[in-house]
């Protein structure tokens, strides 16, 4: 086996696999292929990267962006969008937020804000890591996060108010 051990790899997949999928899903319709390719590239590395999680997010981002460009050239992305978007989140018992509505609201955000929110909320990355990932500063990542979160709050306001009111009562 190369630098990374099976135990470390299994733990990475368990803890960050779904977040990596969600992160890749922002750009392409086949996020599983992107994550799989990123994991295989990690295994082929001679030495384990200093930050394997950030490395995986970076590789998934590059692969997904390349795939998105190819999909745009094939014009399949547009037809898939008109046919309805598959929910990015699994259905949960917590009904405070609707998964489909959250998917639509998240997909409608500007790319920088959406990417920052996904990397922060579900990827668990720090603002410094997000800034390094996106090629910006940590303060820019922080601003994008709060701006996007506020926009999401406004988009999902009706559903959220109802749920919060129900929770409060």
């Amino acid at each position: 086996m190369s630098g990374i051990t099976p135990e470390i790899l299994a733990r990475l997949l368990d803890e960050h696999g779904s977040a990596l999928l969600l992160y890749a899903r922002q750009w392409c319709d086949a996020p599983e292929d992107m994550v799989q390719e990123a994991v295989l590239q990690l295994v082929r590395q001679q030495a384990v990267p200093e930050n394997p999680v950030g490395w995986l997010f970076q590789v998934v981002r590059n692969l997904a962006l390349n795939e998105a460009r190819a999909a745009q050239r094939r014009a399949k992305r547009e037809s898939a969008a008109t046919g309805g978007r598959e929910s990015w989140f699994a259905a949960t018992e917590d009904d405070r937020l609707d998964a489909a509505a959250a998917t639509d609201a998240l997909a409608g955000l500007p790319a920088e804000e959406r990417e920052t929110i996904v990397a922060r909320l579900w990827g668990g990355l720090s603002f410094e890591e997000i800034g390094r990932l996106m090629g910006t500063s940590s303060s820019s990542a922080h601003r994008n996060y709060h701006r996007g979160l506020t926009a999401l709050r406004e988009k999902l306001g009706a559903t959220w108010k109802t749920s919060s009111t129900r929770t409060a009562t």
Binding site: M1, S2, G3, P6, L9, A10, L13, D14, G17, S18, A19, L21, L22, R25, E32, V35, Q36, V39, L40, V43, R44, Q46, A47, E86, S87, W88, F89, A90, T92, D94, R96, L97, A99, A102, I117, L121, W122, L149, T150, L152, R153, L156, W160, S163, S164
Partner: protein, 189 residues
């Protein structure tokens, strides 16, 4: 102030609720682990630092060394052979060389009747002075039968022509070893 705190708390609650959404995971973990093991088996094993660095820098170092050697050889060749001087070597003349010495050797060889040596010296003489240095036939004939060799016909066709022009000469030189054809066995002279 109170509204700001309320909004901030509401945003934190919204953030927590959003984080509670679980991303859809369709990642086949077992298959991915299998593929990872396969990729690790196919990829080359990490080499020790020394071997890795030597393998990485070995070929460039060899290339640089070969290039330096080739450049050195080319420079040495250009320095040792400046243009225009190729093949010009001056040597002092030998005392026994030159046309006079060659003529002397020819005459000596002809007088001694050494045909093999006369050819070599005749060649040297003609090479040095040209056809004007070719000795006349009388001088060669005076050297004896062997020295007169070059005057004989040089090919079979020339020999036949010469014999046809001088039939009596050839008849005189024919050996008479057989009896006359018209004389029978019973003839007695």
């Amino acid at each position: 102030m109170e509204n700001q705190q309320h909004a901030h708390g509401d945003l934190n609650a919204f953030e927590a609720a959003l984080a509670g959404l679980t991303p859809r995971a369709r990642l086949d973990r077992d298959r991915l682990m299998f593929l990872a093991g396969q990729a690790a088996a196919v990829s080359p094993a990490p080499a020790p630092d020394g071997a890795q660095s030597s393998g990485r820098h070995g070929w460039p170092a060899a290339f640089a060394a070969m290039t330096a050697i080739a450049a050195g050889l080319l420079l040495a060749l250009l320095v040792r052979l400046p243009p225009g001087n190729e093949g010009l070597v001056e040597r002092p003349a030998r005392p026994d060389s030159g046309p006079a010495a060659a003529t002397q050797r020819i005459q000596t060889a002809a007088a001694a009747g050494a045909a093999a040596d006369s050819y070599v010296h005749l060649r040297d003489l003609v090479t040095a002075q040209g056809l004007d240095a070719w000795p006349d036939s009388a001088a060669i004939a005076a050297g004896g039968d062997r020295a007169a060799g070059p005057l004989r016909p040089s090919s079979l066709g020339a020999l036949l022509d010469e014999l046809q022009e001088r039939p009596e000469a050839s008849r005189a030189t024919r050996p008479e070893t057989f009896p006359e054809s018209n004389s029978g066995p019973g003839d007695k002279s």
